[in-house]
């Protein structure tokens, strides 16, 4: 008799919700050409909300740690990561809707592509099998390539091309890593790899090779040095609303997958990957911060700052197990709230399309728009890690984790990098508050995106003062089940 695997669709309800909504939006856009795009936006937001609700229901899941024949895992880690990604998706949807409506390039595929990318991100974070992880990686990447090139500007198309070519390379590395892992353990399932490597039945040499190749794939997606080359170009070229979404969402998803793969499948090889992450963390923090100083475009500056922040998350992850995961999760929550807010403000300052992204156009912003200048200062201070913003708490937590793991020299490097970084964040604040305006353009003063940006701003402040509100949940979520 053939045993059929039990199908527990609850485990992937959030992804089904997202993809389903995406398909409906796509069809509606084609079938009803007259449809108001606002209703598509609202429907997409409803889909995201449904995905969030179904993933919250998984918090008290009592079944097996993995579902669907061991391809996706069901644990609190997955719930938290999904919620973070869905949060950025919701904000990203509103921002993108506003951006394209205002630039006159509104189209209905936008919402569907965003939803598909989101589904790929959440699936990437919960996949318990390397093949599923690879699928998810592609599901998240392809819509992002298209979104990057969705605007008809030349810069946008060039960025999409670059992103696609380099992304395809990194996917190949990732796939090669999966093959090595299969060669080592005879399975692509994370738990099986862990057992094979832990029980010394698998080939450790191939396992180490797999770790190396997978690291390349992950490092590309989280934009860690030396796999960061695409980041500034793509962040600058992509429509700012898309940049806001992908800078936050991709990083969270890729780091979540990295944590799961390394802490579950390759946990027996922790001694091998720790130094790898150590080096990546160190050079990302230093190179990101130093290169950001030389930038004259705010989107490029934020891109380099994102590279340096990838280093800080890696700093937390050098601590294996729950300590590192909890710290890194907190950092990701802090970073995604902050960076989506910062890019949101950049989008509003550009007013329409991609004008005014040079640093000098921020001179005297405090006089032209005190609200936007205040918001951007808040986000920049959080990126710099100045209390009482959430960025400070996040930094302390990753420092704690790394020091506890015995890597205090890395903490020292991190501390020095954050001093260097403070300089370029500060420079923008100096421009906004202390210089006279060079432009007299009035920034976008539509109410909706401003209200949307109030959410990350409130998170940055509230979680900065009361980090305990989520610290408990994150500690519970830091236990990976497999």
């Amino acid at each position: 008799m053939i045993q059929t695997p039990s199908v527990q669709l609850e485990a992937i309800w959030p992804e089904l919700f997202l993809v389903g909504t995406g398909i409906v939006v796509l069809l509606a856009g084609v079938l009803f050409r007259r449809i108001e795009r606002v209703s598509l936006l609202l429907f997409s937001l409803a889909g995201v909300a449904g995905a969030a609700a179904t993933s919250i229901r998984l918090w008290d899941w009592e079944g097996a740690p993995t579902a669907l024949a061991g391809s996706v895992s069901v644990d609190r880690f997955g719930v938290v990561v999904r919620l973070v990604i869905l949060g950025t998706a919701a904000i990203g949807l509103v921002l993108a809707h506003h951006y394209f409506e205002r630039s006159g390039e509104g189209r209905s595929e936008l919402y569907a592509l965003l939803l598909f990318a989101t589904a790929g991100m959440t699936l990437f974070a919960v996949s318990a099998d390397l093949i599923v992880a690879f699928l998810a990686l592609e599901i998240l990447s392809l819509p992002l390539y298209v979104l990057t090139g969705l605007s008809s500007r030349l810069g946008s198309i060039e960025a999409a091309m670059k992103y696609f070519l380099l992304g395809a390379f990194s996917s190949a590395f990732f796939l090669f890593g999966v093959a090595m892992a299969y060669g080592s353990a005879g399975s692509t399932r994370l738990s099986a790899i862990a057992e094979a490597l832990g029980g010394r039945t698998g080939s450790v040499a191939l396992g180490v090779a797999a770790v190396g190749l997978l690291t390349v794939g992950f490092a590309f997606k989280v934009s860690a040095v030396p796999f960061h080359m695409w980041t500034p170009d793509v962040y600058q070229g992509a429509p700012t609303a898309v940049t806001a979404f992908m800078s936050a969402g991709t990083k969270v998803a890729a780091f979540a997958a990295l944590m799961r793969v390394f802490n579950v499948a390759f946990q027996p090889l922790a001694w091998d990957w720790q130094p790898l992450l150590w080096v990546l963390a160190a050079i990302s923090m230093v190179a990101g911060s130093v290169l950001a100083i030389a930038q004259t475009d705010i989107k490029r500056m934020l891109a380099y700052s994102g590279i340096s922040h990838a280093g800080f998350v890696l700093l937390g992850l050098t601590a294996p197990g729950e300590v590192g995961i909890s710290a890194a999760l907190f950092y990701l929550v802090a970073y995604s709230a902050t960076v989506i807010g910062a890019f949101g403000v950049v989008m509003l300052v550009s007013s329409r399309g991609e004008r005014l992204t040079t640093l000098s156009s921020y001179a005297g912003l405090a006089r032209r728009s005190p609200v936007l200048a205040g918001l951007l200062s808040l986000f920049l201070l959080s990126l710099a890690g100045i209390p009482p913003t959430v960025g400070f708490v996040a930094k302390v937590r990753v420092f704690q984790a790394a020091t506890e793991a015995g890597f205090w020299p890395l903490t020292l490097i991190g501390v020095l990098a954050s001093v260097v970084a403070a300089f370029f964040y500060l420079r923008v604040i100096v421009l906004m508050f202390m210089r006279d305006p060079e432009e007299d353009t009035v920034p976008d003063d539509t109410l909706l995106p401003r209200l949307t940006l109030a959410i990350p701003a409130a998170l940055v402040l509230v979680l900065g003062v009361f980090p305990g509100l989520i610290a408990g949940f994150l500690d519970q979520a830091a236990v990976l089940r497999w």
Binding site: F392, V396, G406, W408, V415, A422, V430, G472
Partner: protein, 521 residues
């Protein structure tokens, strides 16, 4: 009812922030509102002073709430003999600072909001007993001060504000590293990580670890003091800041440095404190003489006062590192006194600048004719600053020198030179500014207005009270001085293992690495 007075004290000014943000008040209303809030906070500070038990040692009025339990972080505040007077000084000087900035007309609401934010951050750093909470307040000082200098300052304001920010940020980065490392030690030794300094005191740290941690903490605080040779941000920041900012910087913000040394370095690293005491004493005395000599050369009256701060803060450092009861109490007295007299000096200079629009001593002269009351204010502040008996500074400096003679006669003798030099540069500045023939340009200046008199009178009164009857303050400081001196005296400097004194300790990264490796899991 059990009112958490310290929390009220810290956060009352913060309550003014949303009001100033949402209420579209006119400039005049915003000023009055900020003044009312700061005076209310002064009343709370006096209530705390009343509740303070003078003879008791240890922390009083302690409040503790878990903040992030899993990280061992708690909201923990308390007051002792060292902080009580600094807290009262802060609450006392903030209304004065607000009164001094009546002339600000550019973005008044933001200016007042930043002033109140600064008050909260300063009070918080004096009262926090949880090391990370202290760091939060200590860092939160930076941004409002940075904006205050950069937006409302004079010509070279942006240079000065960025320099200020980067100096202090670089210093406190090492502090953060040290704090995280100490937390790691508590989690190793007690099984549960904690930032509570009372727990951290119980740590047993290896000698080399302790010395490195001392250095990490010391750099952060020495920048704030500022100790020679880390002082170069101060003349720029003080000079370019608006009057309000100069007063808050000089009277309050600088005190966070020596306070941090006294509270954390001496408490947590007694052995290292003794080990480095001679070096710190030497730097302090260099600062005293150097600051005085450079002050003498200045032609900008605000810069002159700024350099005099370097000199006066040298006395504070010298006093702390004598490890005598007189020296420590004197240092705390000197902190309060310096706050009062330098605050008043900056206030007087600010009044002059508002009227003459110059800070160049060469362009002044004979101002006492038109503005006799400003001249009198400046003279009183100068006399206090040079340590005239009967005024406040005398007590602090005298005690510090007494203590330093106990500890090291040579350093004490050189420090006395600083007092003589102070007399020269302050009185000379007074003479060149206010005496002599009146210049044509400055005829008919307006003398002090009632608002300014209202600000000056309480400060002068406080200076007289502390000068004639210092016992009020000393009685409350002394128990804490005694306990910290006893604590530092109870350890012996470890001479074994690292021969050659200071020089050997600069090199041995290897020794530290080895110890850390042994401590790591």
């Amino acid at each position: 009812m059990n009112v958490p007075w310290l929390t009220v004290l810290i956060f009352l000014p913060l309550v003014g922030l949303p009001v100033l943000a949402l209420w579209r008040a006119s400039d005049a209303h915003a000023r009055v509102f900020a003044l009312v809030v700061s005076v209310a906070d002064l009343l709370v500070a006096l209530r705390v002073l009343g509740a303070f038990e003078p003879s008791a040692t240890g922390y009083q009025l302690v409040e503790q709430v878990d903040w992030v339990r899993s990280a061992g972080l708690s909201y923990l505040v308390g007051v002792d003999g060292f902080s009580i007077w600094l807290v009262v000084l802060t609450a006392f000087m903030t209304p004065l600072a607000i009164l001094s900035s009546w002339g600000v007309t550019h973005r008044v609401r933001l200016f007042m909001a930043l002033t109140l934010l600064l008050e909260t951050a300063i009070l918080g750093s004096f009262l926090a007993l949880d090391l990370l909470l202290f760091f939060v307040f200590f860092e939160a000082l930076l941004v409002p001060m940075f904006l205050m200098i950069g937006v409302w300052g004079s010509a070279r304001r942006i240079y000065a504000s960025v320099k200020f920010f980067l100096y202090t940020m670089a210093g406190s980065a090492f502090l953060l590293l040290g704090i995280v490392f100490l937390w790691f030690q508590t989690s190793q030794q007690f099984g549960q990580g904690s930032f509570d300094i009372r727990r951290m005191e119980e740590l047993s740290l290896a000698t080399t670890t302790q010395r490195w941690l001392f250095v990490a903490f010391f750099v952060a605080f020495a920048v704030k003091v500022p100790l020679f040779p880390l002082h170069t941000w101060l003349p720029d920041a003080h000079t370019e800041a608006p009057t309000n900012g100069s007063i808050i910087l000089a009277a309050l913000l600088l005190k966070a440095g020596p306070y941090g040394l006294l509270r954390f370095n001496l408490d947590l690293f007694p052995e290292a404190s003794r080990y480095f005491a001679d070096a710190v004493g030497l730097l302090a005395v260099i600062g005293i003489v150097y600051g005085a000599v450079v002050a003498m050369m200045q032609t900008d009256v605000k810069r002159l006062v700024a350099y005099s701060s370097v000199s006066h803060m040298g006395f504070v450092m010298l006093g702390i590192f004598t490890f005598t009861v007189e020296g420590t109490s004197g240092a705390v007295m000197q902190m309060v006194n310096h706050g009062l007299s330098t605050g008043l000096l900056f206030f007087a200079v600010g009044m002059l600048y508002e009227r003459t629009h110059t800070r160049d001593i060469g362009e002044m002269g004979g101002l006492a004719k038109a503005t006799p009351w400003i001249a009198a204010t400046f003279l009183v502040a100068s006399l206090s600053s040079i340590g005239l008996p009967g005024l406040n500074n005398f007590v602090g400096e005298f005690l510090v020198i007494l203590g330093s003679f106990d500890a090291d006669r040579v350093l004490g003798s050189v420090a006395v030179v600083g007092i003589v030099l102070a007399a020269i540069y302050m009185l000379w500045a007074y003479q060149r500014t206010f005496q002599g023939p009146e210049t044509e340009r400055h005829r008919g200046l307006i003398d002090m207005v009632p608002r300014e008199i209202a600000a000056v009178v309480p400060v002068v009164a406080a200076m007289l009270v502390l000068g004639v009857f210092p016992k009020v303050a000393l009685d409350r400081i002394e128990p804490s001085s005694q306990s910290v001196v006893a604590w530092v005296d109870s350890v012996e400097v470890d001479q074994t293992g690292l021969p050659g004194g200071l020089r050997a300790d600069v090199v041995p990264g290897a020794a530290l690495g080895q110890e850390l490796a042994e401590g790591a899991p």
